[in-house]
């Protein structure tokens, strides 16, 4: 079965540089979520999109932005990178709840970002 695809899998950047992470959801999933997992931490919700519109916002820094495109893939843009941004960034996708169903989120393998 198709899974969530994230690219790149690993990324090394220097402080103050920019980074773009990509996420390709499972086909027919219209909702995408971004999470950040610091070393030894639980995943923290950043932002989500439904049908190309931002649907919810969590602890995403102002230096970060994201969008969902017409083909439902999403990109997380990170600028003025700081050492503290080093983390595993997960994308998850799900169908929209409906018909009495609440759907689980399926996670990609993550992008490990290292800021030096």
């Amino acid at each position: 079965a198709a899974g969530v695809i994230q690219s790149p899998r690993h990324l090394i950047k220097e402080k103050r540089e920019t980074a773009t992470l990509k996420c390709y959801p499972i086909p027919r999933h219209d909702t995408v979520y971004w999470y950040q997992q610091g070393p030894g931490q639980d995943p923290q919700f950043l932002i989500s999109f439904y049908e190309k519109m931002q649907s919810d916002k969590g602890s995403i820094p102002d230096r970060f932005s994201a969008q969902q495109f017409s083909d439902y893939h999403s990109e997380l843009n990170m600028s003025s990178l700081e050492l503290g941004d080093s983390a595993l960034y997960f994308c998850a996708s799900s169908p929209m709840d409906g018909g009495g169903m609440a759907y689980e989120q399926y996670f990609g393998p993550g992008t490990r970002l290292t800021v030096t």
């Binding site: 969530v4 909702t31 979520y33 999470y35 931490q41 639980d42 995943p43 923290q44 919700f45 989500s48 649907s55 919810d56 969590g58 997960f90 998850a92 799900s94 709840d97 169903m101 609440a102 689980e104 989120q105 399926y106 996670f107 990609g108 393998p109 993550g110 490990r112």
Partner: protein, 114 residues
């Protein structure tokens, strides 16, 4: 605000013995509860969920979880542990309406000894 507590950083169990990983939650309204497992350098894999209905939920790999509304708990269980079950387990919650983002617990590392 919703929250999840996993009181044990690590659980150790011998292979073949039953295991329990504890989770308690706090949420406005009806909770939607999930368990995920994370292997080293991997993404989170969905195990099971409770939305409504039967309090005992069965999931992947022989895992099950029991929803207890009065104790606001959703403990993960398995009758007979395998060495391959050793991993990091996260409990997560979202409320039943509105926000769909998951709030995770701090995780519990399960170590199954042969």
């Amino acid at each position: 605000a919703q929250s999840v507590a996993q009181p044990e950083d690590q659980v150790n169990v011998a292979e073949g013995n039953p295991l329990t990983v504890k989770c308690t939650y706090s949420v406005s309204g009806n909770p939607y509860l999930f368990w995920y497992v994370q292997y080293p350098n991997r993404g989170l894999q969905f195990l099971l969920k409770y939305i409504t209905g039967d309090n005992l939920v069965k999931g992947s790999y022989g895992f099950e979880a029991e929803f207890n509304k009065s104790q606001t708990s959703f403990h993960l269980k398995k009758p007979s542990a395998l060495v391959s079950d050793s991993a990091l387990y996260f409990c997560a919650v979202r409320d039943g309406m509105g926000r769909r983002a998951l709030t995770f617990g701090s995780g519990t590392r399960l170590q199954v000894q042969p």
